[in-house]
Structure formats: C-alpha cells, structure tokens
Amino acid sequence: MVGQVLFILVAAITLLMALGAVVAKNLFHAALFLVGVFFGIAVLFILLDAEFLGVAQIVIYIGAIATLIVFAIMLSKNVMGKEAGAYNRNWYAAMAGAVFLFLLLAWLLLKAPFQMVSADVPADAITQIGQGLVGTYVVPFEVASVLLLVALVGAIMLARER
C-alpha cells in the first residue's frame, strides 16, 4: 500500500519532469529537468529493490548530463540570456522523428514476449550482474564496448586539428 502510493508519487514527479524537459524554453532548464527525470528513475529502481541499477543510473546519467550542458552552452547562441532558445527551424522534422521513434518503441514493447515473474530480487543481484557481464553475456558486452571505442576514436578524428 505504502509502496504503491510512493510509486505513483515518484512516477508522477518523473513524468512532470520529463514534460518539463521537453517544453522548457531554456536549454539549461531542459537539461536540469532531465536530471530530475533520471533521479526519479533511479528512485523507482531503488523502490523495486534494484539498488545497483538505481545508483548506476545516477553515476552514468547525471554525470553525463553536466557534460552535455557544457556542450549546449558552448554550441548554442545566447545561452547566458534569459531566452536561450531550444527550438530552431528543424523543429517539426525533429518532432516527426521523435513521434516515429516513440511509436516504434511502443510497438516493440507491446510485441516483445516479456516473461512476467513476481519474485523477490535475489540478495546477490550485483554478483549475478557482474558474472553475467563477464561470463554468459561477455560477447554482447564486448561488442558494445568496441562500438563505444569506435565512436570515441571517430569523435577524436572529427575534432582533430588538421
């Protein structure tokens, strides 16, 4: 009962923050709302007894967003002003893309045959995640890291002074 009330409260705040992130006029405010969204999702994970995921969420996303903000400040005009615009001429195209992505994800979520099991989270969940990452699922994990490495090298190549 208490858990459900808490869940609804946190979920509502998270959704409001998400809305704020989309409609905020100022880029910096949008990014701060995004921090709120990720914090809310972390709280949801912790409410579901997935401590590791919750804390990892904060480490990865909130840290990354600060960097994102710095890039936003450096790349956009007049971000120090009151009305640093988050919109430009490609607004409609971006919206179409976002709607398409949303529909695609929703369709995938509805199609995917998720196994619904109601059981307690095992006490050694972190150990299992760790062993899964470097044991059972080592190939996908390594492929993902190679992908990130390629992206990193590509970024350096693009930004290199010639």
Binding site: F28, E51, V55, V59, G63, A66, T67, M80
Partner: protein, 399 residues
C-alpha cells in the same frame, strides 16, 4: 561493548512502550538521520578551525588565536559574521537555479555520510553498493557547481563552472578505477565489508601495504576531486577571480565553504576505509567501540595530509593538470586495475593464501609505480633539455 547494542536496546525500549513496529522503525531512522546530520555539521566547524590552524603553523604563523582558547571559537564567530552579512542575488541571475545550487552542493556531501562505517556495523545505511553510491553523489556535486556557475550569469563564474566539469570528470575516472581495486580484493562494494576484509596479518592486510601505488594515486586524484591545492584551479583567484561561487555572498557562500570542508573529510574517510583498514586496529575484535577511535585517528591523519599539501604546494597550470590526469593517472590506474584483477583471479583459481596474493600485488604495484616514475622522469628531462637548448650557440673566437 558493542555500539550496536545501544541501538538495539533503544529499539527494545521503544517497543516496550507499546509503539507499533512501523513507527519504531520510522523513529529509529529519523533519529539516525538527525545524528548523522548533526555530527556532519558540527564536524565542519572543527575542520575549519583545524585546517586554518594547521596551515598557520606550517607557514610559520599562529593561525586563529583571538576568539576563545586556541582560537577554537573562531568558526562560530565566522559563521555569525556570514549570517549577518547582506544576502545579494545578482539582478540577472536565474533565481531558482541560483538558490538551488548551494543546497545541492551540501546535500550531496551529507548523503555520502550515510554509508561511512564509523565502527564495525556502525553505519547509517549498510547498503551493498556503497562504493558506487559514493561515486554517484560525487557526480551530483559537479552538477551543483555547474548550476552555480551558470545561474550567476557572470562570465568568470561560467568559466569556473567549465573548469569544474573538466577537472572533476577527468579525475573521476582514475579515482573510480582505484576505488574499484579494494572492491576487487574483497569481493564486495559494501564499505563495512571492505574495512572488515583488511583485518588479516595484524595490520599488514591494510590495502595501503598491499597496493601502495593505488593509494598514492587515490591521494593525488582526491586532491583534485576535493578542489584542493595544487589542483584548486576551480577557484584560482589570479585567473578567474573566484570561480563558480563568485556571485555568492553571506550564508550561500558559506554553504559552498561548508561543502568544501566536508568533501575533504569524506575523501579522507573513504581513503581510511578503503586503504587504511577503516575501523580495524588492535583489540577491536574484543572491544568494538575502539573502532571509532581508530577510524577517526586514520581519517584525521588523512585530513592532516591534505591540509599539509594544501599549505605547501603551489598551484598547477590547467593544461598541466589535465595532461597529468589523462596521460599519467588514467593509464596508471588502468594498469593497476588490470594487474589486480588478473592476480586476484589467479589467486582464487590456485587457492593461494592471502599472504602470497598480497605479496604479488605489492610487487606489481611497485613495478607500475617505478615504470610511471621513470617515464615521467624521462619526459621532464627532455622538456628541460628543450627549454635549455639555445637557439644560437656562441663560439669562442679561435686564437
């Protein structure tokens, strides 16, 4: 006497009063939170006095000595002064972000106090992702400073904010890798378990003996994470006036000041827990309360080291600082983490006793440290030669 028995006796007493179980837990949590918060905020007063006194003595001054005996009441006088100062908000500032920043700056540090083990099992929240939790709230601190820098609408503040992001994120990588090494050795992210795992061989099991290079690396990276000299470029007065907190005055500035000192203490406490054995010490298995004494002794020793370094070293240049992180600390921490992972796995597979694994880890650390130092030495020598090379070599006239 076990310190936990006080808590258990208190819970039993509350239950004896006929209070339902849920309320007992709630009262217990609230009390625990209040104790930790009160402790942290009182600690800040002591730390400010201690650091100023130490810096004074190291620099051949007296330090604060006017208010109270040995100047002990100086922080209280400072706090009163800051409270009575005018609270100025820049007219152009982004009001909500501007006021939120100092709150988050202190909040994220106070949250970290929850997982520090003061003695065996005397922890605010004994969660099993403790080390990761510390990193998570460290990242939140960067956000707070960037918010302060941006919301002030002052170009020096914004430059300070940029420096925060560049410095703290760069140094987060080596510090996170090094914090993973004790996790590897113990096999748990729980800070209490890590402290417990260092009890073997009468103090030789402390990870500072097993992994000396990792400890040194932590010390250097912690100086940068704590914005302390020689890495205090975030508030370099000679370059960017005062950094991200330039527009803050009165109590809001005091909050950043408070966060700075508590952050140093937390970094010391983490160093003590991860590398100096935490609450481990002689006779601690018979008298658990002694753990508090050992823990505070080690933590304040680390704090003393940080204060000593701050009082003696000059500031680095920003390109030197970034290059040192990415070209020295990150590769070194990668090598240490890799070596530790391989040796720990080998030790598990071949069932070595801890003394053998620890000895091999020590040798690996010394090798990594020597390689790093020799590379650094060669680099500085070539740099020196380049600087000393003359563009024009005068020749003596032949006679």
């Amino acid at each position: 006497m076990d310190l936990r028995s006080i808590g258990e006796a208190f819970i039993a007493w509350l239950q004896g009063l006929g209070i339902p179980q849920g309320w007992v837990l709630l009262i217990n949590w609230l009390l625990g939170t209040l104790i930790i918060l009160g402790f942290a905020l009182t600690l800040a007063l002591v730390l400010i006095w201690l650091e100023r006194k130490l810096a004074g003595r190291i620099q051949d001054r007296l330090g604060p000595n006017r208010v109270g005996p040995f100047g002990l009441l100086q922080p209280i006088a400072d706090a009163l002064k800051l409270l009575t100062k005018e609270d100025i908000t820049p007219a152009d500032a982004d009001r909500i972000t501007y006021n939120l920043a100092p709150i988050i700056a202190v909040f994220h540090i106070l949250m970290m106090f929850a997982v520090i083990p003061f003695a065996d099992r005397v922890v605010g929240a004994n969660i099993n992702v403790g080390v990761l939790y510390l990193m998570a709230f460290g990242a939140l601190g960067t956000m707070a400073m960037l918010m302060a820098g941006w919301a002030s609408r002052n170009k020096y503040a914004l430059l300070g904010g940029f420096r925060v992001v560049a410095q703290l994120f760069s140094y987060e990588i080596p510090i996170a890798m090094v914090m993973m090494i004790p996790v590897l050795l113990v096999g748990s992210m729980n800070l209490n378990e890590i402290a417990r795992g260092q009890g073997s061989l009468f103090g030789l099991g402390w990870f500072v003996w097993v992994m000396p290079a990792a400890f040194l690396l932590y010390l250097v990276a912690a100086l940068a994470e704590g914005e302390r000299a020689p890495f205090d470029l975030l508030e370099a007065e000679s370059e960017i006036v005062a950094g991200y907190n330039i527009e803050y005055s009165a109590m809001k500035f005091a909050w950043f000041y408070l966060a700075f000192f508590l952050n140093t203490w937390i970094l010391s406490a983490v160093a003590a827990t991860l590398f100096l054995g935490g609450w481990q010490g002689p006779f601690v298995d018979r008298i658990p309360a002694l753990g508090v004494v050992y823990f505070f002794g080690k933590t304040f020793f680390m704090f003393f080291l940080f204060a000593w370094i701050r009082a003696t070293f000059p500031r680095l240049r920003i390109d030197q600082m970034m290059a040192f992180c990415w070209k020295v600390l990150v590769p070194m921490s990668l090598a240490l983490l890799l070596g530790a992972a391989i040796l720990v796995k080998l030790g598990q597979q071949l069932a070595w006793p801890f003394a053998v694994t620890g000895g091999l880890l020590f040798v690996m650390n010394v090798v990594v440290l020597l390689v790093t130092l020799s590379l650094l030495g060669r680099y500085t020598r070539t740099l020196h030669q380049q600087q000393n090379k003359r563009l024009f070599t005068p020749e003596l006239p032949r006679l």
